[in-house]
Symmetry: C4
Subunit: 210 residues, 4 copies
C-alpha cells in the first residue's frame, strides 16, 4: 500500500469541488425563451428554437466531465504534492472555471453572422485548457517526480505522448473554425468522446498505483 | 469488511457535490416580486401571489433530495467503478443539473395559458432523469457487476424491478399532462414522497453491504 | 472508539456542501450601485449608501454559519442514520437554502415603507428554520435514538431544553416586528451571536462522543 | 503520527467548499459584450475590449487561490479546534466570500473616472482579508495553542512574523491608490505571486506536522 499524502488528497478534493460547481453552473447559461417568443410560437416551439443553447450546454458539460475524469486518473497516480503542482493545478482550474463564458458566447452566436468568431473563442479556449492539462501531467510525470517510485516510467512516457495529442487536435479544430465553424464544433464534441473512452495504458498505470 | 475502492468514493463525493449545488441553486429561481407589484398590493400580498414559484421550488428541491438519497443507497452497495459507470453516472448528473431549467418554466407558466406545455416539459424531464437513474442501477447491478460478490442476486433483481416502476409512473404522469396538468404535477410530488419512503429490500441490501 | 457509520458521514458531507454554497451565494444579493447613483454621488458614497444590503448580508452569513456550527455539533454525537433523519435533515437544508430569499427582501426594503413586512418575512423565516433544527435534534436525541448508547441521557435532555429556547426567542422577535422592526432585526443578530457562544453542556457531550 | 481531530478536518472541508465556490463564482462577473458592442466592432474586438474584466477576474482568482493555499498550510499544522477558531475561520470565510463584489466594482471602473475609488475598495478589501488571515494564524499559533505540542515554537513565531508582513504590504498598496491606482493594482497581483512562492519555514513546519 502506498497511500497518497493528506495534502494531495486535499488538492484533489478542492479540485473536485471546482469541477462540480463549474459543471452545475453551466446550466445558468440556459435562459428560458422570452415572453414575446412564447406568445408568438407557443412554449414548446420557443423551447425547441433554443437548441443551439442546449447543444452548447451539453458539449461543455461533457467537456468538463471528461476533464474531471482525466484529472481523477492523474491524481490516482500522484503520491506527493509540492508548490509547483499546486500552481499548475490552479492554472488548470482557472481554465475550467472560465468554460461557461465561451459556452455562453457560442450559444448566443451559433446561428448569426458571428458564428466563426464564436466558434474560434470556444474551440480556442478548449485548446488552452488542454495545454494546461498537459502541463500538469508532464510536470507530475517527468521522471516520476510526484509518482510512486515503483511506477513504470516507460508507461508514463507512453501515456504522456497519448495525452499530448490533445492540444494538437484542438489546435487543428481552431484552424478549422476559419473554414467550417460547424465542423470544428462537431469535432470538439468528438474529441471529448474520444478522451472519455477507456484507455488500456492509463488503466494499467492506475492498477499499479493501488 | 469490504470497503469500496478509492475511485468509487471519489465518484460519490463528486456526485454529492453536484447534488448539493443543484439543490441550492434552485433557490435562484425565486425572484422577489417587482416593485410595481409591491406598490400595488403591499409586500406580503405580492409575496403570497408568488406561490406557484414556491411550489415549483419545493417540488424540485425534494425531487433532487430523493434522487440524492437513492443515489446514495446505490453507492452504498457499489464496490468497484469502471469507465461505463463514470459515464452513466455523468449522464444522471447531467439530468440533475438541468432540473432548475424546467422548474423555472413551470413556475412561470403554472397559471397562464401555457400551463399544459410547461407541465409536459417539467414532468417529461423527471421521466428522463428516472430513465438515467434506472440505467445506472441496472448496469451496476447486472450479475453483481460492480457489487460485492457476496451480494444477494435475487434481492438485487427484486429492487431493480421496484425502481423500474419509476419511469412508467413518470411516463403516466407525462400522458396525464394532456388531460389535467395540475393533477400530473401533484402526482409528480406524490411519486417523490413515495420513493423517499424507507424500503425494506433496499435496507436489507445496504445492511449486507456493510 | 465509536465511529459514526459511513452513511452518517455522507449526510454530514452533503449538508456541509449545502451550507457552504448557501453562505457563499448570499454575496449575490450584493449588487453594485447603479451607474446613475455613482455619477450623482461618486462611487464611495454610492457604496456607503448600500449599508442595509451589507448589514442583511452579514446577518444572514453569520446566521447560516451558526446553523452550520450547531449542525456540526449535533453530527459529532450522531452515530447512526435512518430514513427519518435523512428527511428531517433535508427539511433543515430546505430552510437554509431559502435564506438568501428573505435576505434579499429585507435588504431592499429596510429603509422604505415596507420595512415592517420585510422584517416579518426575514425574522419569520429564521423562526421556521429554528423549528426545523429543533425537530432534527429532538428526533435524533430522543432516548439516544441515533446517539451512542453510552451518551448521557440527562445531558442530552438538558441540551435539547437549551436549544428549544431558539424557536421561542425567534417567535418573540416575530411579534416584535409589529412594534419595532429595527429592534426585531437587531435582536435576530444578537440571537445568532448568543448561539455561537461556546456551550459547556454541548462541549461535554461532544467530548463524550469522541 | 499525530492526526488532526475529526472536527478540525470538518472545518477544513467546509472552508475548502467555500473557497472552491468563491473561486468558481468569480467567473459570473464575466458578462459577454452587449449586442450593440458586437454589432459595432465585431465579436472578437468587443471581447478584446473587455480586458479590464478579465484582468480583475484573474487577479481575484489567484488571490483566492493563494488564500486557499495558505489556509491549507495552516490547517496542516492545526491539531485541535475550539469555538474561537470556528469564529475566526468564519470571519476569514466572510472576507473571502465577499471578494467577487469589489472585483466586479474594479472591473467596471478600471478605465473611467472612478478608477481611484474602485482601486481603493478592491485593495482595501484585500487588506481586510489579510488582517483576518493573520488573526487566525496568530490565534492558532500563539504558544502552540492549537498545534501539536511538538511543534517548534521558534519556527511558528518566525512564520507569524513573515505572514504579518501581508497587512502592511496591502496597507501600503491602499495608500498608493491615492497616488497611482494602476500601480496599486499591479502591486496587489505581485503580492499574491509572492505569497504563493514556496516558503522554506512553512515547509519545515508542515514536514514536522506529518
Amino acid at each position: 500500500m502506498n497511500e497518497p499524502d493528506r495534502e494531495t488528497q486535499r488538492i484533489e478534493a478542492f479540485s473536485d469541488g471546482v469541477f462540480a460547481i463549474v459543471i452545475t453552473l453551466l446550466v445558468f447559461n440556459l435562459r428560458p425563451p422570452t415572453r414575446e417568443q412564447i406568445e408568438t410560437t407557443g412554449l414548446l416551439s420557443a423551447l425547441a428554437a433554443g437548441w443551439p443553447l442546449y447543444l452548447a450546454f451539453a458539449a461543455s458539460f461533457f467537456f468538463v466531465l471528461i476533464m474531471w475524469i482525466n484529472h481523477h486518473r492523474l491524481f490516482t497516480v500522484i503520491r506527493r504534492s509540492n508548490n509547483t503542482l499546486l500552481l499548475l493545478n490552479g492554472l488548470l482550474l482557472f481554465g475550467v472555471t472560465l468554460v461557461p463564458f465561451p459556452t455562453q458566447i457560442v450559444a448566443e452566436h451559433l446561428l448569426d453572422s458571428h458564428q466563426a468568431a464564436a466558434a474560434l473563442v470556444y474551440v480556442g479556449w478548449f485548446f488552452v485548457v488542454s495545454l494546461f492539462f498537459n502541463g500538469l501531467w508532464a510536470y507530475a510525470g517527468y521522471k516520476n517526480r510526484l509518482f510512486s517510485p515503483r511506477t513504470d516510467r516507460a508507461l508514463v512516457a507512453h501515456i504522456a505522448r497519448q495525452y499530448s495529442a490533445g492540444p494538437f487536435l484542438y489546435l487543428g479544430a481552431v484552424f478549422l473554425t476559419f473554414i467550417s465553424p460547424p465542423l470544428a464544433l462537431i469535432l470538439t464534441v468528438v474529441f471529448a468522446v474520444f478522451f472519455a473512452l477507456p484507455n488500456k495504458s492509463v488503466q494499467q498505470l492506475m492498477d499499479q498505483a493501488e
